[in-house]
Symmetry: C2
């Protein structure tokens, strides 16, 4: 797939905000197809994020380098919007980088085009509002998990919510995403042979 179509985009956005198809058709013209190899860095540390990437195939992680380890802050899959939102929002460089975890295809929206959409259509702002709200809620859920749950509970919870994530993602990334070591993941799996 190298060209997007309004109905398809609409179906992706409907969970956030419903808008007429012709708007999405118009919107699709602003999107650029890109693809990345497995392990390719999409946005490196100390670069500014210029794109929101809609994942068509593959998966992308947002990482940060600290204490000689990559810490995974978020994982994105098909139909997710992947982005270092922190940098995208404030327009600054930071310590985060994004990396394709598999061979990955995306449709990218440049920040300048996003801004243009806001100015042209109030609906663009409403979509973006919905998106940032959903980002906030997801982050708060991560915070609650880290504050209230043990390593094992966090793993179980992820397993229940996104079992396919567990299968497709190297366990070292899952480990750092949950704030634990690969060794601990390994032990949790052993002690709990629910697949």
């Amino acid at each position: 797939m190298e060209k997007l179509e309004g109905h398809y985009i609409k179906s992706l956005f409907d969970k956030y905000f419903e808008a007429p198809v012709d708007l999405w058709d118009q919107f699709s013209e602003k999107m650029v197809y890109r693809q990345f190899d497995k392990n390719e860095i999409i946005k490196n540390t100390h670069e500014t994020e210029h794109y929101i990437d809609l994942i068509i195939k593959g998966s992308i992680g947002v990482f940060m380098w600290a204490d000689n380890h990559n810490k995974c802050l978020d994982l994105y899959f098909e139909e997710d919007f992947s982005c270092d939102f922190m940098s995208f929002i404030d327009g600054k460089q930071n310590e985060l980088f994004t990396q394709a975890l598999e061979k990955t295809e995306v449709f990218s929206i440049a920040k300048s085009n996003v801004n243009e959409l806001y100015d042209e259509h109030i609906i663009g702002l409403k979509i973006y509002r919905a998106a940032t709200e959903s980002l906030f809620i997801h982050k708060q859920e991560q915070q609650i998990a880290l504050l209230n749950m043990t390593a094992e509970e966090r793993y179980q919870s992820l397993m229940d919510e996104k079992p396919e994530l567990i299968l497709r993602t190297p366990s070292k990334h899952i480990a750092s995403y949950l704030g634990i070591t690969p060794e601990s993941i390994s032990r949790i799996r052993k002690s709990n042979p629910t697949k």
Copy 2:
């Protein structure tokens, strides 16, 4: 203070988004003065959040009950906007409650008025966009702190960034905000007599 004035509101919002004073004057008419006693519950668990509260005096915490403890997810002070944003955004009840930590005065904006502002002025949406973006960034910073820093480092970092918070807030709340126990806070303070 029981009535707000455009220039004052403008000064509060300018860090998020700049807009003309007359808009803020108009906006101020939608705000209602409320006050709460120390420890008064503002929004209880299993209630829906209907307001964003601009704190004029005092402080407010967002808590959740889990494992026989109140876990503090956020602390707000003068000139902050306090809210259970999770419930405000999705309009649902949840496990969170908000509580005044001191005698507290706020100007509240009802959700219906916020929505009205969005519909009447594109600028209202832009402000809200800025606010949700800032919420996301703050939450991600909390996530990064929990993933990368030790209890002591988190305490030090909070001390450096908001020393007045440490002085005004009961340490049990600071403890749960940082994801540690009051006993550990006490030991950290002892071992590090930087005030």
